[in-house]
């Protein structure tokens, strides 16, 4: 790689990043090198976020650049050459709540970190969550909610996962503005993350890769 891509992503220069990625790919650079440069850049942005030097707009803009580059990469990558996935995470906003911003950022960050992420969307029925966790042998389940009604949905969802005999196989993390330790206890989940970086760290700590 002739360079410049990682810096362009880190500095959130969208047009430059997309242009450089396109030039690299057309010039014959190994697409996995492009993926690696993007991942390194996202690591830097994630660290800045954790350190209070970058904020949600920066994460969203970085995610937008990643989406653009991922689309460019598709014709160059074989279906299974994206590297080994760290593990499978099922994500949703729980039943009765339709807020998606926080959940979407977590989905993007988990994806970039190398997880296979299954995003069920918002207002997701309990049965669908259970079925998806079972079918995909998910190691982590992320439940998001902004409203206090979500507390009960989180609790019901966790109970249904246990009822289905899956509780020992899946770690459950919660997220959303009103979530606290008390909500984790109330819902019977394992932990909560205050933001997307914390969610990625939790998932990594549970699925082998030390955080």
């Amino acid at each position: 790689m002739s360079g410049g891509l990682k810096e362009a992503v880190i500095e959130l220069r969208e047009e430059d990043a997309l242009r450089i990625a396109g030039e690299e790919l057309q010039g014959g650079t190994d697409p996995l090198e492009v993926v690696a440069a993007c991942r390194e850049a996202m690591d830097v942005i994630g660290r800045r976020f954790a350190d209070g030097e970058a904020f949600i707009p920066e994460l969203i803009m970085a995610g937008e650049i990643m989406t653009g580059i991922t689309a460019m990469l598709k014709p160059y990558l074989k279906a299974d050459s994206g590297g080994d996935k760290l593990g499978t995470v099922v994500m949703c906003t729980v039943q009765g709540d339709i807020h998606d911003i926080g959940k979407d950022i977590v989905v993007t960050m988990l994806d970039i970190a190398g997880f296979n992420v299954i995003d069920l969307g918002v207002d997701v029925p309990v049965a669908k969550v259970v079925e998806t966790v079972r079918e995909n042998k998910a190691q982590v389940l992320g439940l998001s909610g902004l409203l206090t009604v979500a507390f009960d949905s989180m609790r019901t969802t966790v109970a249904a996962v246990a009822e289905a005999g899956l509780r020992d196989d899946v770690k459950i993390m919660l997220g959303g503005a009103p979530v606290t330790d008390a909500v984790v206890e109330y819902a019977g989940a394992d932990a909560w993350g205050k933001d997307a970086v914390a969610a990625v760290e939790l998932a990594k700590s549970w699925v082998g890769g030390a955080s």
Binding site: L12, E14, A54, F55, I56, P57, E58, I60, M61, E64, Q95, G96, D97, I98, H99, D100, I101, D104, D123, L147, T148, V149, F151, A177, P178, V179, T180, A182, V183, Y186, D195
Partner: protein, 446 residues
Amino acid sequence: MTLPENWNELTPDERLQVRLDAWQNIPIEFATPEVAKAYRDRVQLYRDVLELKKPATVPIAPWIGLLPFRFYGHTGKQAYYDYEIFKEDWFRFHEDTRPDGLGLTLGIVPGKLFDILDYHLYDWPGHGTPDDTCYQYSEQEWMKGDEYAALIQDPGSYWQRTYLPRVFGAMEPFSMLAPWTDLVEIPFTAPFFAGFSAPPVKEMLKKLAEAGDAAMEWLQAAMAADGSVMAGLGIPQTAGGATKAPYDILGDTMRGTRGLMLDKFRQPENVKAAMERLVPQAIDWAVRSNNMTGNPLVFIPIHKGADGFMSDADFKELYWPTFKAVLLGLIEQGLVPWVFVEGSYNERLEVIADEEIPAHRMVWMFDATDMARAKAIVGKRQCIGGNVPAALFAMGTPEEMDAYVKDLLGRTAQDGGFILSSGIVLDEADPAVYHAFIEAGRKYGK
């Protein structure tokens, strides 16, 4: 309220006193002289805390959503569609709990109206969300990224012909009509009105008239509900009008959170110009509604400038300048901005304690902000309040609530300038914990 004839000659402080007097001496018939006195005494609590004086007791003014209906076995859907339940539960709740403020009756919204208007901007119980939830915003780019120029050129026309047809199904035909500003001279009048002969426009006008009736039916119920609480229990309203920060107008229901965050990188100058264009609208909206209600408090929920939602530099350069202009415009008119700060504002306290905003002229109600710092930084200039967490109401014990309120008031309310409230609008609470909140407020707020 009718403004005095010399209004334009009054200073902002004189206007404020006129408005506060009108609020305290509201022309309604109270149940008894004792209730009338209780009402005036309660308004006095707010007058005192606004001036950062120690009130007779710390005013207790929680934000109430669907809580009353949950207390008495009803759902959100019933609250939004059955106005008898709305009125009865609203009164009963305030009678049972006796807070010092009556807030957000407007938040118990009329489902029938939105059914007629085919409102796309929100889901509500009976229409997209489960029966026992509150209304929820449907986050989308309702304003497209390439529409800033149209908005900035003529917000009224943009709203009428582009935004409203998108967010209200019933208003789609507005996009077929010319802007009202075309109506300037006799020869151009007929071409303008010809648009009204189109069948979809005629159908729209019928629906709007139906919507008007549905809105009036609800308004009468809401006024009766508020009237019974004020006249029967002596509890004043803590919102006389409303407005929003320009950044939130764009970010909440136009460009959406994500859209506006990307615009910050892609077209920052357009974002700034649009916010500046919206400042006079934001001021005028509140002035008109507060003049109508005769209550000086302006409810301003703020969202997208919270900690984590942008950098400090962006808050200072992007969010604060136009919001500050709105606050100054309201204070100039003798109104009291009552800002409902959702999320945490720990990183913003130094900025919002802005010395160019006259001291003792507004209220900051916080949610998840460090209240000791808020008191030290913002509380030395303006009244503050809020902070009791939603999770504590929903899942705590009465003992935990008592301890929390004791600690909070001990740290923030000892020398006045504080209003006890929930951090967010309450849809859920354990009744015993809610009563413990009120009792603790009375006990430690003396």
